[in-house]
Subunit: 379 residues, 2 copies
Amino acid sequence: MSRAANPGYDTELTLSGERFTARYRIAAGTPEEAEAAARALAVEQTIEFPAELTAGRIAGEVVARVEDLAEREDGAFEAELSFAVELVGGELTQLLNVFFGNSSLLPNVRLLRVGLSPRLAARFPGPRFGVAGLRRRLGVPSGPLLSTALKPLGLSPRELAEMARRLAEGGIHLIKDDHGLADQAFAPFEARLEAVTRVLEGTGAVYAPNVTAPGEETLRRARLAREAGAGAVMVAPGLVGFDRMERIAREVGLPVLSHPAFLGGFVPKGEGGIAHYALFGQLQRIAGADAVIFPNHGGRFAFTKEECAEINAGLKDDLAGLAPAFPAPGGGMSLERVPEIRALYGEDLIFLIGGDLHRRGPDLAEAARRFFAEVRGTA
Amino acid sequence: MSRAANPGYDTELTLSGERFTARYRIAAGTPEEAEAAARALAVEQTIEFPAELTAGRIAGEVVARVEDLAEREDGAFEAELSFAVELVGGELTQLLNVFFGNSSLLPNVRLLRVGLSPRLAARFPGPRFGVAGLRRRLGVPSGPLLSTALKPLGLSPRELAEMARRLAEGGIHLIKDDHGLADQAFAPFEARLEAVTRVLEGTGAVYAPNVTAPGEETLRRARLAREAGAGAVMVAPGLVGFDRMERIAREVGLPVLSHPAFLGGFVPKGEGGIAHYALFGQLQRIAGADAVIFPNHGGRFAFTKEECAEINAGLKDDLAGLAPAFPAPGGGMSLERVPEIRALYGEDLIFLIGGDLHRRGPDLAEAARRFFAEVRGTA
């Protein structure tokens, strides 16, 4: 093709050469199909433009590079792509777009894990508290932590506060809102925040109000929480975007508990989705979560034991020096399962018990004390 | 169970009785299993708490009601649930949480369609421009609209503006940023906005810069776009959350083009996900999109013709009086496909052509003119 017919698009910018990575599973029949798919993915995630019409640095550096491609044991392929750090412009929304924007729509591609370059790790320093910092805040230097939620929806701030008081009496370390508590007339955010923080003052228990809210309100509520003396906040990045969670972590100065609501679309199904390791592990840390709630295996959400082990690893494995974060598996907690759960996740673990605590009898403080003994007594 | 052993949690609030709905597909073996799953779903999406420990209005009104349950032709079941409007508290994040928060994590549940109550429709009035308003803004009272993107990543604002100029010369109505254009050093948002709006002044073409960005920056960029004279904005709700798109629609006063990046996790896979009708149709209108980009069938993203027809219907069917929005299918556009695409979507359609336009030769204005003739000439 003549020069006249080919614009040979190039960039005026000199690139630094610094690159970050992502690893994908590609369902393809043959090595040739896998290679074509990996190259198409490299284009899709960057220029989304005919590669043959580019030249120079756009063709060589702006388009993602396929660094590695290998067949997996399950018959699919695994491709490692690298990207110029300049593609991100320092924005988490764009980082996620590069990792899995358009490719989230491809039927045969799964994001498995991500790798940060030094500049990205400096820009996204990860959990501000992490495992060590959250332990300091809760005053629990070792062993598993206990958490539960204020619920059901419909209770008033006064009733939720009374519930919180009894849970704190029973030794629960971290008392969070049910994720359905937003700013409803029966329990407005500010009234709830004030009532619950007041009763927990001096108890040692930490309250994590749910600050998931529209627009800038998320950040405003997180700041209100800090001012009111709540020790942490909870937010659902599936609903507000990972970037708003990251801003809370960076700007508010409270530990951040991540809730999985509306994130389930990305759980691997068919050949697509984001692997548990990245979805509930790495991406959460990049976005600043200090603890991550997810459904424990054996409960109603059908996560497997292997997937939960992956999450645990994704929260604790080295990731460009970012602090590790707590796994907070929820659902299906029972006395018999305590040893097995501790064996799976290790000591750095938040036991999240929900409605089951209320099934243990009318005295919530007593039920919490028994839960405490079950979990911490086996230490 | 004695009263002492059962707290019988109830709410102090009197509920209005106004309810909204959602319809789910539930994969279950038998009618009995389906009924149990539907009841569990009703609890999961509202109180997430042992229903037997509640009473009065919480048991009767706060917990979702299973209004209908029927077997489908595909052997699964379809359940219609209704919810008290008070659960939402007027917040889109919480509305989405009620529709599909925790249930997004269930392996056997798919959100099929949603229904708004009058109070919700007043709070979420939908597309501000819609089909009619966007046509007025573009000065195209009938027939399909033409759109394309400024790309590839790496070009400078000056080069992108030159490209926009030639596309406008060729008759393209709506010129959008590539969704990978954020705020990178090679094309910073404000410099790009200024350069492109300047060359398009007086051409009749409308520019939709990509305002997808972290935190409050999304809204700030949308306001900058309005001040600079851009005629529309593009945003990816998968990256920033549907609520930030809704704020732009409500507060900025420009037509909103929705991009599907990072939304693919929710595309139905296995038994889960959100049906195309709701994901690319209804939810987008509730969040204020005037036009919705999605992969056309027959392209690289494997959407079927039926799924695309569903999207078209979800964008145009009656939804509590919300305005209809434009479908903007992209990918795989070619001369031969024009009649078939128009037959599928009807006249209210935005033809989105991407890199293929650039493959048609070095003269972009000429390529755009031919694209215009192909699409509009068949009117």
